[in-house]
Amino acid sequence: MRLLAQQLLLGILVGGLYGLAAAGLSLIFGVLRVLNVAHGELLMLGGYASFWLFALLGVDPFVSLLGVLPGLFLLGLCLYWLLFGFVVRAHEEVRIKNSLLIGFGLALALHALAVRLWTADERSITTAYAGEVMTVGGLKLPLVRLASLALALVLIVGLHFFLRRGRWGQAIRATAEDWEAALLMGIDVRRAYLLAFAIGTALAGAAGSLVSVGYSINPSIGLEWTLKALIVIVLAGMGSIVGTFFGGLVLGAAEALSAVVVGGPYREVVGLVIFFCVLVARPEGLFTSRGAFR
């Protein structure tokens, strides 16, 4: 029982990062109708940024988030201008298919680039306080992972309020709901696209930073994280950033449970099987819900 509770707790802790990764992808998909399968690779880049800031300059990984967020935001702007901005001109079905292909090529290139620059080694940030553990009721809580979950939650809540209250946040939501109507209301839809894409990329980078602290990164983690984000989106549905975050927690918990029940190596499989079944059971209803981000 103790083991199960401990596993669940660790699952929920990593689930926060699933949620953060998924929130970025969901924002991009929901607003632009573009499926960026290189999302996991962008996350990987964020992780490396934090890793090198720590390894070379000794910047604390939680502090380096302040650099990674704007850095990846800028990268997002560039990627939109260079690649995805061309895709959004097409109508919806072509848009998704082309973005999928472009994201795929981008993922391949970023992966190869990371292997070339930083080798395929597994990297992880080990700070002075890395081993600190809090014990609550006999359960061990690694402090770094707890802090990561808290930070992820802060980012999610921040995004939620930005979308809710911010001038551009509202423009993004309006665009997600109906871009033609938004255009008629005088909203600069292209700029809303650009902003949503850059924010989504920044969130991926933040998730990567947190992954490199509590867990580890290597150039090949991209596909795995993209799939995790997709699973969460399928589980939680589109339309609510906070809901997506909780979807991440649920996936983390479900994986932890399945690790106990069917064995650790198969924990990845369980999420994917759920994903496939939900996709097939609700082929139309998942991504197409025209909900704004509430």
Partner: protein, 319 residues
């Protein structure tokens, strides 16, 4: 393309190119008699395997318009079954046949539910499936698969060369035959507009399942040939996403929805890959990744389109 049907019989271009490609393959059959270098023959095997895999993917994506990101699953299943049967003493050709049938049956099992998904959802659904298989195989068969010493002693590269050559020719002939048939016309109709095709009496599910069957059959055979060719590998290796990527890159770089595109693409891809791998490991993926993005954005018809433009021909395909 409007008017295209008036200019050309559907599949006429494919049949003409199939004749050219098959004649080229026929002359390549003389290669082992002339050149006795292993590196040349190995290059040939890799090239023919790439052509087979790319054509099998092309049939689904280029003609029927279904982007299958889990193609490695079928390649892997073919390899897994063929290897198991062959090592236990079965002759290679029946073993490959069984492997291909298993891949196809699995294709039906997943195809029936997965074809409820359209476009991108089909793509990510199949991607998830291939990962499920890869992880499961990696966990249940963690040990490297090596041929018995007796088999290695009698290993003939020439035999692999001819086997993969015949396979590539079969793939080319299958795509050409399908493209020139009524069924191929139906597949292209679905690719262009599924709802309109359905409304015109083209059964989408039937056509998609047929494309999937042919595609998985060829991919399974290619996997079987891989299992016959490679002396030792991890059983999960043929399930890896890089096999899907290879097929996708080759098809798109060459020209999806054409017969000669994937053949040219494979030649270009394998040549560059081998050449670059000598100097810089993995750099080819960076180059191909960038090239691929550029092609999707700027040149959706692939390399073939460049030649077509130079010769001033109207574009027939629009994948």
């Amino acid at each position: 393309m409007p008017g295209a049907a008036l200019l050309h019989r559907p599949g006429a271009s494919e049949l003409r190119w199939a004749a050219v490609v098959l004649a080229a393959f026929g002359s390549l059959a003389l290669l082992p008699l002339v050149v006795r270098r292993d590196d040349v023959l190995n290059f040939g095997v890799v090239f023919f395997l790439s052509v087979t895999l790319a054509q099998s993917w092309n049939l689904m994506a280029g003609y029927a318009g279904q982007v299958n990101l889990g193609h490695a699953a079928f390649f892997g299943l073919g390899a897994l079954v063929t290897r198991a049967l062959w090592i236990q003493g079965a002759p290679i050709l029946p073993a490959m046949g069984v492997g291909a049938v298993v891949a196809t049956v699995f294709g039906w099992l997943v195809g029936l539910p997965a074809f409820r998904l359209r476009g991108a959802y089909f793509a990510i659904g199949t991607l998830a499936l291939a990962e499920i298989l890869r992880i499961t195989v990696g966990n249940s068969l963690p040990e490297i698969s090596t041929l018995p010493a007796a088999t290695i002693a009698g290993y003939s590269l020439t035999r692999r060369f001819y086997l993969t050559l015949v396979l590539a020719a079969l793939a080319v002939a299958t795509v050409a035959g399908t493209a020139a048939s009524r069924v191929g016309l139906g597949m292209r109709a679905i690719r262009e507009d599924e709802a309109a095709a359905e409304a015109s009496g083209v059964g989408a599910l039937r056509h998609k399942l047929l494309a999937l069957s042919l595609s998985t059959l060829l991919a399974g055979l290619a996997g079987g040939a891989f299992a016959y060719y490679h002396i030792s590998y991890y059983p999960q290796h043929p399930f890896g996403p890089q096999w899907t990527f290879d097929a996708l890159l080759i098809t798109f770089i060459g020209g999806a929805g054409t017969l000669h595109g994937p053949v040219l693409g494979a030649l270009f891809y394998v040549f560059l890959k081998e050449y670059l791998a000598i100097r810089w490991v993995d750099l080819h993926l960076l180059i191909f990744g960038v090239l691929f993005v550029a092609i999707v954005l700027l040149l959706p018809g692939g390399l073939v389109e460049v030649f077509g433009r130079v010769r001033g021909r109207p574009r027939l395909t629009n994948p």
